[in-house]
């Protein structure tokens, strides 16, 4: 009996929002079809599709339209485009070396897509495609497969030297090889979950604080101030996570290009 009563109470609380607004922190990550109420199939246009397309559109606007003028003294859009280009170019050159520059377009594409998807997701009422492991796993898996194939094409069997730590004592090398092998295959997992987890955690924290604002009544300004501060932090995280994803791609690329320890 008591359990039944408790269940009804909980349900009532969920329906009416026991105190003020009732926001579930995970509701914002639900994928919904845009034009119909039907189930989400392989080719359904969803809110994730919309916000990913917007991220691509913004990339094109910034990099193609923004730098179309090719002014000697760049305007605002052109200087942002030039800055991001130079930033990623220098990163690829520094981390992956001269040979890595050949793969710069792919890394630039990755960075621009992730950073713009993260930034657009910070707009109120928007949707964060990079908070879904499905999205980031595809990005990370393509990096992983591409880098592995590249390593084998460039070095053949010599690519396996990545797992054979020649600077270690001979007795330890087989054990280290197993550890290196495991760490190599965990790469795509950690690579994708880092981005998705950070973005998801940040957005969930924002929603949790929004829920506090509904519950506190007149003291709602305290969580609103906290949300403002967390928003600034999330802006930083949106950039840093895109940067980290890109720089790890560069590190993996360097491992594929120079596999020997």
């Amino acid at each position: 009996m008591a359990a039944d009563q408790a269940a009804t109470l909980v349900e009532a609380g969920a329906d009416h929002g026991g105190s003020g607004l009732n926001i579930h922190p995970m509701d914002q990550f639900v994928i919904q079809p845009l034009f119909s109420d039907g189930p989400v199939g392989m080719f359904t246009v969803t809110n994730a599709t919309l916000w990913m397309a917007l991220a691509v559109l913004c990339t094109v606007l910034l990099l193609v339209v923004g730098s179309r003028g090719r002014a000697v003294v760049p305007g605002r859009a052109q200087s942002v485009a030039e800055l991001s280009y130079g930033f990623i170019y220098k990163m690829v050159e520094d981390v992956s070396g001269k040979e890595g520059v050949k793969y710069f377009p792919y890394i630039m594409t990755l960075f621009m897509f992730i950073v713009l998807a993260n930034m657009l997701a910070l707009l109120p009422m928007s949707f964060a495609p990079t908070s879904h492991i499905a999205v980031t796993a595809v990005l990370a898996l393509f990096v992983f497969l591409g880098v592995t194939i590249l390593g084998f094409v460039k070095h053949g069997v010599g690519f396996l030297g990545l797992f054979w730590v020649s600077s270690a004592p001979l007795v330890l090398r087989p054990i280290l090889a197993i550890i290196e092998l495991i760490s190599y295959f965990v790469r795509p997992v950690s690579h994708s979950i880092r981005l998705a987890g950070n973005i998801m955690a940040g957005h969930a924290v924002l929603k949790v604080f929004a829920g506090f604002a509904g519950a506190l009544g007149i003291f709602a300004f305290v969580p609103v101030l906290a949300i403002t501060a967390i928003y600034a932090l999330e802006l930083l995280v949106a950039f840093i996570q895109a940067y980290v994803f890109t720089i790890l791609t560069c590190v993996y690329l360097k491992d594929a290009l120079h596999p020997s320890h």
Binding site: A3, M91, G197, N198, M200, V244
Partner: protein, 78 residues
Amino acid sequence: MEGDIANMGQFIGAGLAAIGSGAAAIGVGHVAGNFLSGALRNPSAAAGQTATLFIGIAFAEALGIFSFLVALLLMFAV
């Protein structure tokens, strides 16, 4: 009643998994603090090592994210 006990285990497990996030915070603080103490001794070499700093932070943070993920799975997926 059995369901309640199962739920309790789920929540306790999620809370225990969240300890890992705090451990990752210690790790990230260690990386950043050591970078800062090194950078203050030789500021001219600091700029070239920011990439290394972020790689180190990312690797330390990954394991905290794993434990956060376990907590989330226990709360919402199990």
